[in-house]
């Protein structure tokens, strides 16, 4: 678990699930990163919705993502929300399955030197409340390179 949050700081602005996204947030609470895939055209997508944004088909399935990703782009917010312990990289990662999502990169300095585009990352789940855990990413600990 990350130590980004302490008792002295207010909580992050937390998400509130809707019927269409409940399965995603239930997944992160269990420690699973859920994406969705179209049964008809096999398109993998995020954020969740009960139909495929590529072909419009309503037959879609939840899928547990590998949790592997690469750093796609970011800025380092120098004046973030009070819940953060100082400058924080607001990052977009590209999952191995294809979809991209916003997140934070933890367990590494929040600097341009440390945060190199296309670096390999692994998902980690940071509990915020009993109902909400956020999917964050950290530099990959294995030497497995996506091929």
């Amino acid at each position: 678990m990350s130590s980004q949050q302490t008792d002295e700081r207010p909580p992050r602005p937390l998400p509130q699930a809707t019927p269409e996204t409940q399965a995603f947030w239930d997944g992160t609470t269990r420690g699973e990163l859920i994406i969705q895939r179209c049964d008809a055209c096999a398109h993998a997508y995020f954020p969740p919705r009960p139909f495929c944004p590529e072909c419009g088909g309503r037959s879609v399935s939840d899928e547990v993502a590998s949790g592997r990703a690469t750093l796609y782009s970011y800025v380092i917010n120098q004046r973030p929300h009070a819940s953060f312990d100082g400058p924080v990289a607001v990052a977009v990662v590209e999952l191995a399955e294809g979809p991209r999502m916003m997140t934070n990169i933890i367990d590494t300095p929040q600097t341009e030197e440390a945060l190199v585009l296309d670096m390999e990352l692994d998902v980690v789940f940071e509990k915020q409340t009993d109902d909400i855990s956020l999917p964050l990413f950290r530099p990959a600990t294995t030497n497995e390179v996506a091929s």
Partner: protein, 381 residues
């Protein structure tokens, strides 16, 4: 491709900004709407009784119409961010061509700096952003709109100096404009050494936050010569939306909404980028003119930074761009698109502070949200 109505069917016959720009603590948002509207109506030699269509964004069109004492027969409250006014021009042109209204008023105003009579932003935790972006430290536009840049820079091998240069060149234009908030020259080092906001974006790569407004009056071209000001004919228009979340922008090096809106506007106008004498590209941040130049087809993908570096868009260049100083130096109330339209109209009329010689065609290209929406208007003399 064919269109229901052709170029030069509709014209802007009234255009004005609020009497003051900058810090206006003694006027509320609705007061600024009215000031801009009355200035534009006077510019057209009309009274409020002549207006039969009203469009606005940010504030309710009902509020604006009621406050001005207008009961319109056509209303447009399209609100997709800072380019909403480009979309209003497009919709107004279609409405006038269809006979739904004769004389349409489009207003914009914001108390961006003073926040007089302005609403308070609140995050809806069930919204797209509330669920999938806000928890990660993404705050206002400086920490969202800017995220694609590092990917763009890596893709095309662009140094930070080329980004800073956009702010330097636009400040040169602002130096010619007495109404610009900031007009003193700046250097690359000034830009790169200014306060870091969202690394690698410094304060001088981010737009201003000011108070102000603007308004336009549109009518059919066959009436346009009866007004005191030279008409700015609407030659072509385009619009699109892509995503409410910057993280879901399909290509971090190019805006799909820009490409769709731009291509549609040029197709409607029946012209190419070679025909354009003057260009406004909404510059909330320094990378936007780069994306705009490329996505509208003025330069190849990846060539925007060098095009600006080589002073093509600067004073004396082949494609004068953001000649009012832009959102980076002139003013930025929050939804800047109206000011880009105003400068295009001034350049067509020949009344701009930094007037470009012989502007027959001017393009005003806007963005809404964080690459979320887009509108493109091509004006002709």
């Amino acid at each position: 491709m064919s269109f229901a109505f052709g170029p030069r069917t509709v014209a802007v016959v009234g255009a004005a900004e609020t009497t003051e720009l900058g810090t206006i603590p003694n006027q509320s948002v609705i007061g600024l709407h009215a000031d801009a509207a009355l200035n534009a109506i006077a510019d057209a030699g009309l009274t409020t009784a002549d207006i039969d269509g009203v469009a606005t964004a940010g504030t309710s069109a009902t509020d604006v119409a009621f406050y001005l004492g207008i009961t319109p027969k056509w209303v447009d409250g399209t609100s997709v961010g800072g380019c909403s006014f480009m979309l209003h021009v497009r919709h107004a042109a279609a409405a006038i061509a269809a006979g739904h209204a004769n004389t349409i008023l489009i207003t914009h105003a914001e108390s961006g700096r003073s926040r007089v009579g302005a609403g308070r932003g609140g995050g809806n935790p069930t919204s797209f952003g509330g669920q999938f972006e806000n928890p990660y430290g993404a705050g206002g536009p400086p920490t969202r709109f800017t995220i694609p840049w590092l990917r763009y820079a890596k893709t095309y091998g662009v140094d930070i100096e080329k980004l800073a240069n956009v702010s330097v060149v636009q400040r040169e234009w602002a130096g010619l404009n007495p109404r610009a908030k900031f007009g003193d020259p700046i250097t690359l080092d000034d830009v790169m050494d200014s306060t870091m906001i969202a690394t690698p974006f410094t304060k001088l790569m981010c737009c201003l936050v000011t108070d102000g407004g603007g308004a336009l009056i549109l009518t059919s071209a066959d009436r346009a010569k009866d007004f005191p000001q030279p008409p700015a004919y609407v030659l072509g228009t385009g619009e699109s939306v892509e995503t409410p979340m910057i993280s879901q922008m399909a290509d971090f090096t190019s805006s799909a909404a820009f490409r769709v809106a731009g291509a549609q506007a040029f197709a409607e106008a029946g012209i190419t980028t070679d025909d354009v004498d003057h260009l406004m590209i909404y510059d909330a941040f320094a990378h936007l003119p780069i994306f705009g130049l490329e996505d509208l087809g003025f330069v190849e993908r990846g060539a925007g930074p060098d095009f600006i570096w080589d002073r093509n868009t600067a004073i004396g260049g082949s494609l004068p761009m953001n000649t009012n100083g832009g959102g980076l130096s002139y003013m930025h109330s929050g939804m800047y698109g109206m000011y880009a339209l105003q400068e295009s109209v001034r350049q067509i009329r020949g009344t701009a502070a930094a007037q470009v010689e012989g502007v027959d065609v001017s393009v005003a290209h806007g963005v809404g949200g964080m690459f979320g929406a887009s509108g493109t208007i091509i004006f002709g003399r």
